[in-house]
Each structure stands twice: as C-alpha cells, then as structure tokens.
Amino acid sequence: MIRKELVAASAEPLILSLLAKGESYGYAIIQEVKARSGGKLQWTDGMLYPVLHRMERRGLIKSRWGESETGRKRKYYSLKKDGKTAMVRHQEQWSLVHGVLSGLRKEQHV
C-alpha cells in the first residue's frame, strides 16, 4: 500500500490527468485509479468528493448533472482551462521528482 500522504498529494494531478481524457464522474474516477494502480492506490471513496469540490471552487474543473445509460443521476466533471495549466505544472513537478529519484537510484547501483 502507498502511504496516505502520497495518496493525498497525488489526488489532484491524477484527477486532472484522468479528466484530461474526457469528462467523468466520481465513481468512475475511483475505479480507474484503482485499476491503473493495480489496487495499490486506494482512496477512501468519500474523500474524493471534497477534493473534486475544492478543485471546482478553484476553477480547475467544472461539473454538470447528467444521467447514466440506466437513468441513474450522475454528476459529471470536466477540465477547465486553468485545470489544463495546473495539470501540465503538476506533471512537470512529478517528472522532476521522478527524475531525481531515478538518478539517485542509478547511482546507488553503480
């Protein structure tokens, strides 16, 4: 399992990156994160919604109510312009951290 601090820090970039593929809703976002991480990145499901609402308030994403194919009500989220900018910045920062860690690991193996 991944430490909860890292899970919390990665929530926003992951949500932004997932929404960059197209609009989605809370349940689908959680399922996709679980699937892509092989179940290792686990959020407490309900915690996703305060994060989504906070991001919406900051103008990174927007929402609309819609219906699933079975008629169930769903709140769909999509990326706004500021969200795309934030996503690029997140990705740069995470790449930087990843690059530093990879470099250090290589040095340890030399």
Binding site: E12, G26, Y27, I30, T44, D45, G46, M47, Y49, P50, H53, R54, E56, R57, R58, G59, L60, R72, K73, R74, K75, D82, A86, R89, H90
Partner: protein, 217 residues
C-alpha cells in the same frame, strides 16, 4: 430480512446527523454508495454484505464532514460576490453613457466641447477597464474568507450609498455649453468611484483565487 433501501435511508440519516447537510455532496455520496453496492452484488455478495463493505469504503461521516468543511465558500457564493463586482462596473460604464450621449449630440454644443465630453467618457472607460483588468495584481491577498467577503460586501454597500447620496445630488445639465464641461468631468469621476469599489470587491476574490491556485499547484 435485510432491507437495502431502509439501510441506505439510515446511512443518509447518519450523514445528516454528522453535519453533511448540504444536498449536493450527500446526493453524490449516495449515488456513489449505490453504484458500489450494485458492483459488489454483481460480484456475488449479498445485499447486506455489499452494503457493509460499501459504507466502510465510503468513509466515516465525521471525517467526510471535516473534509467538506475545508472547502470553504460554496461556488455559488463566490459567484455572487464576483457578479456583484461585474454589475458595479457595468453600471459605472453605461450610466454615464446615457447622460453623455444626449449632451454630445446636442446641437448647441461646439465641436470642441463635444470632443472634450467624449474625452471625459473615454478616460472614464479606460480607467475602469484598466482597473478591472489589473487591480487583482495590486490588491492584497486576504486569505481569511469571512474577512474577504466582509470587505467585498462593504465595497458593494459603499457603491449603493455613493450612487444614492453621492452621485444623484448632482446631475449635469444647464443650457450653456461653456459651463457644462467641468460638471461633466466631475460626473465621470463620480462613476469611476463606483467602478473602483466594485473592482476592489471582485479583485479581492480574484487575487485570493489566483494565490490559492498557485499555492496548491
């Protein structure tokens, strides 16, 4: 016999009791809960077991409440505060126009007087647009939300008072072209006060929003 609908109703009551009272988060959480129960049941679990697992996964009401509390001002409230600023600026731009236009079209005014009148309006519009565009960069970032909201409301209140007691004590008119330009200029400046106050209310929200975005990026 386990009644799934009653169990979901009871869960909803527990959420309400914990303080998640705003309808949107609770509705979203319930939709999520139902989707998860459905998925668990499809994988072969009983309704009761699926419900228990799903409730556990969604989290404790108290923890969720504290997370929702951190969000702060609802989007709607923030939009209202910004909208009030936009209204102030639009009013400040258009009200003088309705007064200036008939004066500028008045046949008794010389071309010079008309050009000066037009210049007054242009200065007013330019000052309003520039302050609207850039004031958030000059304004302080008030992180305390209630304080920021209070300052905004005071600005809008001051706008209304200024319009009621400041601007309408004087209405430029007069028949002599030479005496009209100074009052016209003062009138333009008076409307700029409205735009400035509205711009402060809006700009404070924008400054806080930009800072918030940068801090969290």
């Amino acid at each position: 016999m386990f009644d799934l609908e009653k169990a979901i109703g009871d869960w909803r009551q527990r959420m309400l009791a914990a303080g998640i009272k705003t309808p949107v988060p609770l509705e979203e959480l319930e939709i999520h809960l139902r989707e998860e129960i459905e998925r668990q049941m499809k994988s072969g679990l009983s309704g009761q077991k699926a419900f228990e697992i799903s409730v556990r996964q969604i989290g404790q009401p108290e923890t969720l409440k504290s997370e929702f509390k951190k969000i702060g001002t609802p989007v709607e409230m923030q939009k209202i505060i910004k909208l009030a600023g936009i209204v102030c600026v639009v009013v400040a731009l258009f009200c003088p126009l309705f007064l200036f236009l008939p004066l500028l079209l008045a046949p008794e005014l010389s071309l010079t007087a008309k050009m000066l009148g037009l210049a007054v309006y242009t200065v007013t519009v330019t000052a309003v647009v520039l302050s609207w565009r850039y004031n958030h960069k000059l304004l302080p970032v008030i992180r305390n939300q209630p304080l920021r909201r209070a300052v905004g409301i005071v600005c809008y209140g001051a706008c209304l008072l200024w319009i009621r007691f400041g601007i309408f004590h004087f209405s430029p008119g007069g028949s002599h072209p030479r005496t009209i330009l100074l009052p016209l200029f003062i009138f333009g400046l008076e409307w700029m006060v409205v735009a400035f106050l509205g711009g402060v209310g809006y700009g404070l929200e924008k400054a806080a929003h930009r800072q918030n975005t940068l801090v969290n990026e």
